[in-house]
Symmetry: C2
Subunit: 418 residues, 2 copies
Amino acid sequence: MNNNKASIQSTPLHTREGQGGGSFRTLADLYRSELLDRTIPFWLNKSQDTEFGGYFTCLDRDGSVYDTDKFIWLQGREVWMFSKLYNTVEPRQEWLDAAIQGAEFLRKYGHDGNFNWYFALDREGHPLVEPYNIFSYTFAVIAFGQLSIALKSAGQVELGEEYASIAKRTFDIVLSKTDNPKGKWSKASPGARALKTFDLPMILCNVALEIEPLLEPAFLQKAIDDCLHEVMDVFYRPELGLIVEALGKDGNLVDCFDGRKLNPGHAIEAMWFVMDLGKRLNRPELIKQAVDICLAEVEYGWDKEYDGIFYFMDRLGKPRHELEFDQKLWWVHLETLISLIKGYQLTGDQRCLDWFQRVHDYTWSHFRDPEYPEWYGYLNRQGEVLLPLKGGKWKGCFHVPRGLMNVWKILDDLASRS
Amino acid sequence: MNNNKASIQSTPLHTREGQGGGSFRTLADLYRSELLDRTIPFWLNKSQDTEFGGYFTCLDRDGSVYDTDKFIWLQGREVWMFSKLYNTVEPRQEWLDAAIQGAEFLRKYGHDGNFNWYFALDREGHPLVEPYNIFSYTFAVIAFGQLSIALKSAGQVELGEEYASIAKRTFDIVLSKTDNPKGKWSKASPGARALKTFDLPMILCNVALEIEPLLEPAFLQKAIDDCLHEVMDVFYRPELGLIVEALGKDGNLVDCFDGRKLNPGHAIEAMWFVMDLGKRLNRPELIKQAVDICLAEVEYGWDKEYDGIFYFMDRLGKPRHELEFDQKLWWVHLETLISLIKGYQLTGDQRCLDWFQRVHDYTWSHFRDPEYPEWYGYLNRQGEVLLPLKGGKWKGCFHVPRGLMNVWKILDDLASRS
């Protein structure tokens, strides 16, 4: 299906001399090129709305716009991506400009005046869907946080300070909502079986490090301790060896649809957030634990019949009501690549490298579109393309470029060590 | 895959002598037997919660309970189904008893005291999900309406009156909510692009006739006129030859995800509701219009590659965000069988009989489980079983038995005419 697959498969990493610098270098170049030569130009050229600001994310296979609504998750994530590239790859002006134009659209139209972030806007910026979703807020935090860092390094201190303030104020709102993220939009009956979900503490593990320079050290430490505790001591269940998506408020397993739900990609993604925290806190035992959980999740989530990692599973093997449960999604596989190669980088665990090769082969041969840039997002269980889109309501300029960037940088480090 | 398929396919209806009584009789017997010998005993024996009342609907392939939550849509629909059988097939006491025990559970626990019907309860009847969904109300209306008719014919006048009152009071609430069915649970921003959806007027076409004996004639007439107008003059779009799922409040087509959405099964189901109204109102031109729309929808929705009718489509051919869009669902195919055979019964249109045979063959060979009673609900695009369940959060004692009953009765009428 594409030449990259063949060239990688023909020289498996673990059979090369000393797992050496040569193959890591080749692979690093592959990821770098896919990021900088194909993926980022796609979003730069196809997604920016030069008329009304912000980004189109509903892009068809060739990048043509098929819907103009603007979803705050994806607006924030694209601002973050261009800012992160500027901060960690190189200070290209076009990346900074792209980030600022998205951020200005968000600043003007994305919230209600009090940094309550809508879920969706129309093309012109009129609100369509109310601020019911906490992740519209978290992605605004990392967007304005990363961009403020970029602006300060670019000498635009005043705008940087304004954006830093938006990030911090929004982060405060997120933390104030952790007990009841949906607020008045929750459909749970008062007093009913109350559940808490993995998604918010998991994302906060990442957000905390993303905006570290903006936070007081004691405040940061408290935020990190809280989310690490939730992820590793509460949602990770030693009796299952897995992370569950929802628990009773008392921290116990619950036998209902939500309480049985597993999302291996989610758990695996969280593990590289935890590895980053383990590195930052100098806690090798935390890194090792994250690596072990990551490997257990990959083993459990892998489809032994058709390959790839399932989207949703049931911890008791009961039928799911999410009809897409057996599909193979792009973000699951890109996040898995990050976790596995980061696990190898930080621990040298050979199992990580073996699984990385397997997931790499599947991902590149199934999600990558050899004809047009960016990758497919949705495959059926068998690995066939379900939707030809490159972006939509939930897929934007985020998991593919973030995954390529992270894996490239880690491979680059591994190559330079050899 | 099952013997029925072979026997039917070997003697296609349209090649039989005079499309005659013999083949209609054989087919009628097949549907009757599948209903009364397999499907209804399954629900009678497997779904009743003899401890706490109401029905389990999360039933695995063999009928074992895999989840005990109770969803009001499905509780109401099962009460309706047993009541309808009692009223239209024969007055079996076990059907009446099964309906009453479900209705008592609903009366005690299903609403907030003011006939605002919750979406879900736990096994014991504690509310889990608030009354955000208007169809919890509409299915309560037909449940208590049909059961009140059964009770009156069984001589239980007092309980019948009480249930009739619940049906009427709930129907009044439904009608008061037609402009804003989601109420405070709507996530639409005030003043944003406002849409109205096809589902409510479509269901009201059916509800009105279901509870006809409980309504004042003038009130009934007004309700029928309103929903018929919405379905046939507003949501049916002559420029497309199809029914759309959502329109602007002004009745215009809107180019957004919701405004592009087509649900062929929904449209086809609505057409047998309209045929019933056409018969009731003695309006043959309305019946003919419904038959033509039904045929257009079946043609449009049919998967030319793998057979079966798609779940969701996009009227502009753009990608959908519902990842289950290409799956084949049980209810779509059962409702299509009703509409096609009813269309033939009422108009003699040969196209209806030809399509009926084709959909019958697909449905019986793909959805019917030859090993255990009741049918599969969810197939992938290729027609393979996606989930082995016989009931769940959305599938209960409704579309399979209602479809079998309606088709049986119509085939019986066609056979007796020959």
